[in-house]
Symmetry: C3
Subunit: 275 residues, 3 copies
């Protein structure tokens, strides 16, 4: 069983639909191990034309992906390993986004629980996203950490909503509930929690059942936009800020105060605004 | 009376507003005769500067336009006749869309009943569209037929909503009600059925009453986007799929099962998913 | 006190947030004096890096900005003074919009009362806008005056909503309430009147409190779009219409009937449609 090789994800197949469950306790931070396993499984699916649709969901009911592991840049070797031989010029976070965006299958996020920062970028990189009306939350929290989003959000958001709302999302740095996220076009739509499993599963199965060639042709006619220049600008801005002592100080401070544990993560904006 | 020459439409004039009623029983399929009459009347209006606004509506309360006539490609002569001397490089469906988009008048769709596939593209090609909250429905059904939209929808939708929603519309292939269509920006807005006639008629008359030059100048400053490249890509994708035996098999199968008759058309997604 | 030098605005500072109150009785028309004072204060803030956020609001509970002063073009000298040394090729209205758009600070409109025509363009030029659910109203009224918007709206609206809705806004020329404006993406969102002060003040203070460099970097990565060509086309169209006798006749007629006084301004669409 392939599943046995993964430690931070598990997968299920149901006909043409593969589901990747994110399972990286305690709060599903997006660290190098999770990234590596996601990259591996997505590359495997990319070569398997019996997989038509990939659904991402979380094994943790409170967190989809908390955010990128705050300590991620400590392991430069793993970071370099992840970005090499993929998309030239992209940082590791943009690389993950681009892998999702270029996946030949249709990718769908079923968002239950919280997705912040790099987790929110993961959601926005997928072809479609549906959020639980009651539990789905999404936020670009980076500004509170002294940085800007560095994994594509400046570009992904700009494709989904006008600039006035992008600025509100990034500079306001609030956690949006599913209804507001839908209203801003950040996700496809919110679905009552009692219906979202059925909704996403039905949609995924229906897409997987489409006659041969339809998905590939739609993706060819409507490819993801080329964001090369935008990624570059975003990375320049992100790199400048993340290199400042202030960012390191904030990271260190919130780690000491319990970041990356469930209770603190639920209200991390409050902690960050109190520093 | 000009009206007498048309068999699938009828027209009314009220001041500067011309209304074209689509009337092609039993379900208003968009066939070559209807296309030809639409092209003729629109070209006539294009040369008549007393017409300021053109409203499209249906004489059939259940169907605005069911979809393109499934047998349309059988009559190659009519197809060629329709596309020649119009917009080079566009297929017949894109040609109809482009005629609507380039109409000098303001074009408004009053959507009561169902508009699917080529009918949905017709709606999206118009300058504005308002749908009955209760009866207006719109869907890109093509994926279920083994093809992709080939009459501009890949482009028109991309102008109106972000790619995640375009993919949901095209690959999900569901019939949207007016409220959801409004939420996705597919139509201008939904209006209660009891108010939509008054709403559209008032708006049309008000636009027709604007001081000279305003409509023309607004259309000059805000022209429809040049979609030449997008149309080409869309047609390439559409043509590849429509040429496959699978598409022909689906078309033949649904015709045998009652497609293009009212009862079957009301729920044609169900029939198509059952094949 | 700097405030003493201004006659049509007053300013307040609260930490990193500067608020500019528009105060040009009786209905806050955007005339040359108000424009000049806005330009002066914005240029002053542009050079003051202790100001992080600029909030615009009105001292008049019924009008944010009624519209541009109808007599504005009578004072050519003041108009020329305002546009020289700013952005080459832009008319005076576009110049004001561009000053707002290029402001290094985050600009936020708190919209209570009515913003029409040039006032609506002011709202749309800001980085963000929040409107009172009960009193906030916005409209591009120009079409009823025989002209098109000439201060950027054709471009600003096109960034915020699809063309079908832009055409409805400009050609329908109706005053939108805050809920509809939100639905169309014209403003960031509507907020109940009882909460909007707290909402905007909190957001402004939070943005002003972000770690150093975040605002500047976000604005650098997500700059306002270059609208040079669009401005040119818009101005060409506007100039052609505003030079016609019809526009002058409408301006003169509504001034005689009480335009720029509160009672008439509340329902000026009705007056304009009755001419």
């Amino acid at each position: 069983m392939k599943n046995e090789v993964y430690q931070t994800i598990r997968t299920e197949r149901n006909g043409g639909v593969a589901t990747i469950f994110i399972n990286n306790p305690p709060v599903n931070v997006l660290g190098t191990k999770l990234m590596k396993e996601l990259k591996t499984v997505l590359q495997e699916y990319a070569g398997d034309d019996t997989v038509k649709v990939i659904v991402f969901e979380s094994d943790n009911s409170e967190f989809f992906i908390a955010h990128v592991d705050i300590n991620i840049l400590d392991d430069q070797e793993a970071v370099e390993e992840l970005t090499k031989d993929v998309y030239e010029g992209l940082n590791i976070f943009q690389t993950i986004g681009e892998i999702i965006r270029r996946q030949p299958q249709v990718t769908i996020v079923k968002l239950k629980g919280i997705a912040r920062a790099g987790g929110a970028e993961f959601v926005a990189a997928a072809d479609m996203s549906f959020a639980s009306l009651e539990t789905g939350k999404i936020g670009q929290t980076e500004a509170l950490m002294g940085i800007i989003p560095g994994g594509g959000a400046t570009q992904y958001l700009s494709e989904k909503m006008p600039r006035n709302r992008v600025l509100e999302v990034i500079l306001g740095a609030e956690l949006f509930d599913a209804k507001d996220a839908e209203r801003y076009g950040w996700i496809n739509r919110s679905v009552p929690d009692s219906e979202i499993d059925l909704f996403v599963d039905k949609l995924a199965q229906q897409i997987a059942s489409l006659p041969d060639g339809v998905v590939a042709t739609v993706k060819k006619v409507l490819p993801p936009a080329n964001l090369q220049q935008g990624y570059q600008k975003e990375n320049d801005g992100w790199l400048e800020l993340v290199s400042k002592p202030k960012a390191a100080e904030i990271f260190s401070s919130i780690m000491k105060k319990g970041a990356q544990t469930p209770d603190v993560e639920k209200e991390i904006e409050t902690l960050l605004r109190s520093l």
